[in-house]
């Protein structure tokens, strides 16, 4: 609309006299308005990209940030969550087509349980023998990630599977001069909801308290009667389950293929390290600022170069502040 007005005004601006001047000021005001909306659009798209990053990274913030396990199979937990969505939708299509609009709501707990259970099995079966040995953990979990990808490929085929969107996720709406899709908006809301729930679990539940106690002093936590092996397994399961939930959301905006997880693993580690290891708020702020930075750089540098630019910035930032954006401070840390 504004663009149309701009086109019709442009020839008039070259006319001498009051008409030309009026046209010029009108063009200037339209341009500044367009710039403003462009900025707003960048911020909203950035928040939406940031929410995707947040969803992918928040489970990792638990397994890597809280437990210190370098889990290269984290992306595959996301992928398993997306495939769980696919399976749930297939079952609904066959047995209860009327429920299709609720398929994502049904897929959420299902994905949490499937990915969480696989996480617990991985922790009990492999990772618990490797605590304190980061290099071996990295190699072992990388192996697990390849196994899970190949297993998915053998079961569901190498090509993308079709995950549908319920009606309330599709379509778009206008705000001012912007057109926003519902899926973009829902993902922002959903990411924040997952974040808030996780904070609540960590701060208000008995499991959360025990998780934090074990992280801060494993030996003492054990002497307080906390069954540390259970807490380890459940913490890893929680991180993996949340990755599964992220997979449900990502199935709506990305191709669901066995490689889905690989695209997110680097970004996830980047967000967690940038935000400050062991700090969920850091993960939130880190994800959002990386998302917005990406979107503002894209118009100037293009998507690929913009990403490279962001990576370089993070490398420089980590040199300066190795503990990330929100390093924990205070007397409590030295104790």
């Amino acid at each position: 609309m504004a663009a149309k007005r701009l086109v019709s005004l442009t020839p008039l601006a070259t006319v001498q006299g009051p008409v030309g001047e009026a046209a010029s000021t009108a063009i200037a005001s339209i341009n500044s308005e367009l710039e403003l909306w462009n900025g707003i659009q960048n911020i909203i798209y950035g928040l939406s990209l940031g929410s995707v990053l947040l969803l992918a990274a928040i489970g990792l913030a638990i397994t890597f940030g809280v437990m210190g396990v370098i889990n290269m199979a984290h992306g595959e937990m996301v992928m398993i969550g997306a495939y769980t969505t696919f399976v749930v939708q297939q079952i609904i299509r066959v047995s209860a087509p009327g429920l299709f609009d609720y398929s994502l709501l049904i897929a959420l707990p299902a994905a949490f349980l499937v990915s969480g259970a696989i996480g617990v099995v991985i922790e009990r079966g492999i990772i618990r023998f490797l605590y304190g040995r980061p290099l071996e953990t990295l190699l072992a979990t990388w192996g697990i990630s390849l196994v899970l990808q190949q297993a998915t490929r053998s079961w569901f085929g190498a090509s993308n599977v079709q995950v549908g969107s319920p009606s309330w996720m599709s379509g778009s709406f206008d705000v001012g001069m912007l057109t926003l899709t519902w899926s973009r908006l829902w993902i922002i809301v959903f990411a924040l909801a997952v974040f808030a729930t996780l904070q609540l679990v960590l701060k208000k539940t008995m499991l959360g308290l025990r998780m934090r106690a074990v992280t801060q002093n494993r030996r003492m936590a054990s002497s307080m009667g906390i069954r540390t092996p259970w807490v380890d397994a459940l913490t890893f399961g929680l991180g993996s389950g949340i990755a599964g939930i992220a997979g449900v959301a990502l199935s709506q905006i990305d191709n669901v293929s066995p490689n889905l997880g690989q695209g997110y693993i680097i970004d996830s580690f980047m967000v967690v390290v940038f935000g400050g290891v062991g700090n969920l708020w850091g993960t939130l702020v880190g994800a959002m600022s990386l998302g917005i930075a990406n979107k503002f750089l894209e118009p100037f540098a293009g998507a690929v170069l913009g990403k490279i630019f962001v990576l370089v910035l993070i490398i420089l930032f980590i040199q300066k502040r190795p503990r990330g954006l929100f390093a924990l401070k205070g007397r409590a840390i030295e104790a």
């Binding site: 308290l209 934090r212 106690a213 936590a221 002497s223 307080m224 009667g225």
Partner: protein, 231 residues
Amino acid sequence: MLTVENASLHYGAAQALRGVSLEVKPKSITCVLGRNGVGKTSMLRAIVGQHPLSSGSISFDGTVLGKKPPYDRARAGIAFVPQGREIFPLLTVRENLATGFAAAKRGNRNVPPEVFELFPVLKTMLGRRGGDLSGGQQQQLAIGRALVTRPRLLVLDEPTEGIQPSIIKDIGRAIRFLRDQTGLAILLVEQYLDFCRELADHVYIMDRGEIVHSGDAASLDKPEVRKFLTV
């Protein structure tokens, strides 16, 4: 109640305990004295399950503890106040206390009132982070946290280390109160002789990984016993 029999413990090739035997009776305070590096802390580590014995045995209430992990021992009724206190630095005082619920029976998941009676300062600091407390306050919190698990044996490793005299007095009063009022057995490792002499019902002295003396608190004044404690 707690019996250590002929216990030996190694850190790699270094031997920290050489055939230590001792006994802690219910409703009594047992004190272990000795210079630095004679194996006092190692013995406590073995009792609470944080380090395995290489030979010998430890039994609690007649059952051999063997390879039981620390959390099972805590659940069986052994509470530990370690050297350096080891408060969870980022948990609040309230949360630090609540970690003890893990070992308490289901109906007992609360902070027993005597914790705040003995250490009223904790009540005013419930919302503070444990790591932000002073050393003396942390020590009181560490003892309070141990009491939340409703122990039958309280194991304390140098509770007076680096603490001002008035709080040492409070801690001494608390230990005596716990023995007299709740019938707790207390095993106390110390370097501070006067503190032990005042409190102990029975004392052991360790030197180079062995028990070299066993007797009542008055026996600490004999010169042949003193020679183990002077540097």
